[in-house]
Symmetry: C2
Subunit: 248 residues, 2 copies
């Protein structure tokens, strides 16, 4: 039984509170938030408090606040003997000044009110000693199945990769939708292709899966497409086509 | 019962032959290919031939060859009275010089040997008269459920949109994989995020679904990421981040 205190009242904290309280491996000892009203709905699953001075004994404190608040909260936990972890992808472990520290980062974009199935979400774990790693891993495996060891440096690189495969991919969808809207084409025509593209790379490396005029070096089609695009979309089309041609 | 002659021996033709022969609404009258050996395996589901002079009577001839061969084959079918359609996304209907003509374009990237479920693939249909449209639609609905009316102009625009949501998206995956490989991170960590990004836009417009440092105008994170990227990837990161910042 791992005794866990959860600090934070946001979206991720609320999902984690539910998952922890549903696990037989975890005792959700307490939930803290500066604004009590944000966590009061959780009072049936664990004791709630808005005072850091009233924290109970636990094995792990999970700081699940905004990135900016991690430093401040961790300093107020300097007297605690337990493992202190944060849940931020963009924050180094060493922002925590506690003796026993770690990172417990679920890689996913959380949509408010959506049901979250942690068994499908990868968790990236880091600690500064092997014993604490086992403890953190035990907590992670109580609610998740995909658990990875990842250093702060790797996590930063992963965040950049995620910008490409999530934020920039979504922007490609945005441009696709714009082109459809301008031409009276329902965007839903593209859903199956979008889905297939996302699924294919799970069994075929994207380098091998690349198709289209740029990788075929079909300059005629590339030029035809460019001639129909507006300034901004044309710039993107040209840069990405050149990169694909040169990289494959 | 729609009588269909299929012309072509490639990947799509082979998938269509199976689907047509499995439909109770369609009589697959004949399959033609210049090289008989490519279609000989189909001789149990329909008569095969390598001679255009031996084509039987039918309601629709489906030209399912390379784009370059469409013009040539359609000219050799000038004497036929039936509806002549091609299956190319990138080719205008008017490349066909036949009196009754149309387009029957399945929007999907076909992987050789993969099982194709036409019920999930959108078909874009075009003809030059309403009566032929009904005939073509009847054939399409015999094997598909997602059927859209689309002019040659719209189809060209759709092809450009598909380059963004398929080819360019795959290239974003490629860059993401490169960053992972260079840093000892298993690319599979990103699969759930990739999947969620692709699914989300089916209920939320990509314009609304946009997340990440660029849309938050978080210049500090953007600069931090740029400083860690190599020349080519940095160019792409900068251009896309600026476009997202300016467009949202």
């Amino acid at each position: 039984m791992v005794r866990v205190i959860l600090l934070g009242g946001g979206n991720l904290a609320s999902h984690l509170a539910k998952a922890f309280s549903n696990s037989s491996e975890i005792e959700l000892t307490q939930i803290f938030n500066r604004t009590l009203s944000h966590i009061i709905d959780n009072k049936d699953i664990a004791p709630v408090t808005d005072s850091l001075d009233e924290l109970l004994e636990a094995d792990i404190c999970v700081i699940c606040t905004s990135d900016a608040a991690i430093d401040c909260i961790s300093q107020k936990l300097m007297h605690k003997n337990c493992l202190i972890v944060h849940t931020s992808g963009a924050t180094s472990m060493d922002v925590l000044q506690n003796k026993r520290k770690g990172v417990f980062y679920p890689l996913q974009s959380f949509t408010k009110d959506a049901v979250i199935d942690f068994s499908k979400i990868p968790f990236c774990l880091e600690t500064n000693n092997a014993e604490d790693y086992l403890l953190l891993e035990k907590m992670a495996l109580a609610i998740a199945t995909k658990v990875y060891t990842m250093s702060s440096v790797q996590r930063k690189k992963l965040h950049i990769a995620a910008v490409f495969v999530n934020n920039f991919v979504n922007y490609m969808y945005h441009i696709g939708e714009d082109i459809c809207n301008k031409n009276g084409i329902p965007f839903e025509v593209l859903y199956p292709l979008i889905q297939e593209t996302a699924e294919k790379i799970q069994y075929l490396s994207p380098k091998v899966a690349q198709t289209g005029p740029a990788v075929r070096k079909d300059k005629k089609t590339v030029a035809l497409h460019e001639s129909q695009l507006e300034a901004n979309e044309k710039l993107i089309y040209t840069l990405l086509s050149e990169a694909i041609s040169n990289n494959n």
